[in-house]
Structure formats: C-alpha cells, structure tokens
C-alpha cells in the first residue's frame, strides 16, 4: 500500500515539476507548485499512517503544508495583480523583455 501511495505521489509531483517548469504564465506556474505540495501532503500522510504509528506531528506537518499553500496562493495572486497593474504582463517572458 505504501509503495502504491508513494508512486502516485511521485506521479503527481512529476506533473507538478513539469507544469512549474514549462508554463509561461505566473498563475499556471503556481498551479504546478500547488500540485507538488499536493504530492507532499500525500507523502506525509502516507508515512503518518503507515510508518510513524500515528504521530501527531505528521498531521501538524500537513496543516503546515496547507498553510504554506494558502500563503503561496495569496502572495502569488497579489504579486500577479501588482505585476499586471504595472506592466500589463501576465507571462514571464514579458518581464524578462522588460528587464533588458
């Protein structure tokens, strides 16, 4: 069971890596990051359930990951808004172009 869960988590994580690297728009990159965190949640709960005898720290770690997701999303959206406001850009290339 643990093997199966870890393979699934690895697959979700792989998709997240692909998304975060390949996407051009900020929000889509954030989606890749969220997918990676999703995999992390699954891994943590898997170990909590199967290997640590239900150590509550595992649960706490999940909550912390959730908080990280919320913070990442809030700051991410705020940044997207601020960048769009000042540069009218929603994809990363446009920012690079501007730097030159």
């Amino acid at each position: 069971m643990i093997d199966l869960l870890l393979v699934i988590a690895a697959a979700i994580f792989g998709i997240g890596v692909y998304g975060a690297l390949s996407q051009q728009s900020f929000v889509m990159i954030m989606m890749g990051l969220e997918l990676m965190l999703n995999a992390a949640v699954l891994v943590v709960v898997t170990f909590w359930w199967g290997t640590t005898g239900g150590n509550p720290s595992g649960q706490l770690l999940v909550i912390v990951i959730l908080a990280v997701m919320a913070i990442e999303a809030a700051i991410g959206f705020a940044l997207v808004t601020a960048v769009y406001r000042s540069r009218k850009a929603d994809i990363t290339e446009k920012l690079k172009k501007l730097r030159n």
Binding site: T81, Y84, K88
Partner: protein, 426 residues
Amino acid sequence: MELKERLAHLAKTGDVPVFAVVGSGHRSPVRRLRLSDGINLVASPRHAAVLLVAGTLTEAATETVSRVHDQMAGPRVTVGWNHPEPSIVPLAENVVGGVPDVTAAIRQQFANVLTGTIPGEPPLLPNVDPVEWRGVGPYGHGGAGMTGGNPYGRPLPLRAPARDTLELDQLPITIGPWFAGFPPGLALRVLLQGDVVQGLEVDSTRFVSDGPGGVFERALREPTLIRDLEMDRARHHLEWMADALLICGVDRLALRADRLASTIEAGDVQRVDRLIASVRRSLLRPMTMRGVGVLPPDVDLTGLGPVARAAGVAEDARAAEDGYDDLGFTPVTHTAGDAWARFSQRAQETTQAIDLAGRAGNRLAFGSGAVEAPDGLHRAEGSRPADRFVAMLEVVLNGEEWGDLVTTIQSFDIDMESVSAPKDVP
C-alpha cells in the same frame, strides 16, 4: 407518446410562463396581468412558452421581438394583445379586449401548443451565422492567434483602462429593449468591465409607439377633475412601486401593490399606509436602495417631478393651481436624492393623492398647457421628462455596479412611450 401526453395534460393546467413585449398603452394592463390566476410573467424568454406582444410597436422592434421569440425554448406560441394589423411578428391569436380575455387566450394557446393541437412556432430569424467562421482559421474555429479572429462567430472583447488601473477586458453589450429590469422599449449599450459600468449610450431607436395619452394628457388641454388626476397618479405610483419591489426581489409585496393599484378608491389611505409599513419591514431601504442612484449636483432637476422633489427641490405645478390650493396642498419633499428617497417620495405622494382625491369633490385643475404628471411636468409642447432622464443616464450611471444601475433606472420612472423622436434626443 404516452408520457408526453400525460405531462402535457398536467402542465397545461399549471402556470403559463409568459414573456411580455410591452408596447404603447399597455404597461399598466400587462402589470394587471400579473394578478391573473395562472399567468407568470418571466424575465427570460428561455423560461417562457408564450410570447405576449401587447400594444403598438414600431417597425424597428421587429428584429428584437423576433430574436426574443426565437430564444424561447419552445414549444412556443405568440399571442397579440390589442396589437394593430399588420402585426410585426406572426401571431397565433390577436386578442382585442381586457385582462380576462387575454388571460383566457393565453391559457388556451398554451394548452394547444403543449398538447400538440397547434405546432410550436418555427424560428423567425434566418439561420445564418453572425459572421462566416466555420472552417476559417488554423483550427477551423474562426479564430486567429491568441485573441484574434471571430472564434465561433464572435470576436473576443478588448482591453480598456479602469479606475483601479487594472487594464482588463471591457465587454460592450446592448441590453434591451425587452429586458424586464428596464422600462419597456429602453435599450442601453453598456460598456461593462466586470460588473461595473464604464460607459453607456441609450439606443435612440424607438421601439414603442407614442402612448395613447390618459387623463394627464387631457389636462393639458382642458380643466380636469382633480379627483381623476389624483386617482390616476396614485395608480401610476402604486404600479411603479410594484415594479420597484419586483426588481428588488420582494415579489409578495409587489403583488400587493399591484392589487392595490387595481382596487384602490379615493380616500382609502390606510391600505396604502399598511403597504408602505410592510415595505419598510422588508428592509428595502438599508439592503437595496440607500445611497443608490444619487444625482450629481450639477444636474438640472426642474420639472422632473418626484425625482426632483426627492432631491429637495420643492417644485410642483399643483401648488400654483387654485383647486389644489383649496385642498391645502403642499408638496412633499425628501432630501437624500437616492433611490430610496424616490421610493419614499412616491409612496407619500400616493397617500397624498388618495387623500386629495377623497376630498376634491368637483374641483377642477390645469388645462393651460402644463400639468404635473406622475413622472414630472408635462407641457403641451417641448420634451417630456423621459427625454431628460434618458439624457442624464450616462452621467448618473457611470461607474455603477450592474444591480445599482437597474435599481437607478427603475427609480426614474422613464416612460419610453413619451420620448421624442430620435432626432430630438439631445
């Protein structure tokens, strides 16, 4: 099919969902239709089975009425009501008569079309795409690049600046002339960014013909019984209040106001007061109307009747009439000038009118070319208040949220039957 017949048998005795296209002289009759047993006036043609074409419409209305007709989900049927020949759209039946007649006709045609006695009407507009898009472009969907072309027949909206400096898409859209939240015949081209209005333009096409003119029209030419004038005013205001309540989602009180409008008698102030007390309990003021639709200070309010008086302009042509003077008439005013002030203003003028009508006896008033009508000062020549309201919409509504826009337009009481011909609109 057995099941279909059973369903039709059940459905034909139920409420008839009617989408009403209201032409001249029929705003009040269509409102009374709301009181008819088993008639349900719906706001979207997608929910309707019967299209009611009431009163006289102009030639220009043909396309819009046809479009609404086609948007009905079907099995659909069109019923005319005092609609002059030749009709602008094909009618299954044209009723000449009052509310009971048309109710019966609508029920009958509804039953006919549900049970298959008559076939559902075919669409009226030609089956052609708005632009040629099939097979055009790299995927055959009519688009080009990221946002170009006409994907599936229409372009994508363009960006426009906004007051919070986020330059996002602006959707230009024409709403009306048969949008239930607006006075019948009013079509607005609105620039929407999100749900906020960034600009608007009134379509100067006339969709409804000139109104037949009631007691106030007569009072322009000859002295008229104050009793008649004031009862008509009370009825007009009550119907207006019913519309306002309907738009604000207080259906129960809207029905009461409608019922009151059709049964009210001179001097019967208590029933109106009870209605107004119920309206207060419905929290209409704090929830929907307070602070909505305030006019900018530089707008000229003279002659705008209740709208002006709700903003503190104590101006009323009745005050100069001897007949009214005898009755001790003084104009009611409010100061806030928002949608609630207008509602409250009209509510109090209704009570006042019923009171005046009860005491008026045979007194006469007006007849000299100017009369204080429910929507403002009417003159024998020159533009009507509706023209002025239409002209001020853009100034008042720019930057409003959509719901506030609808509330504000309703609060003006614009009578599209009395607007001038297109060329006269300022």
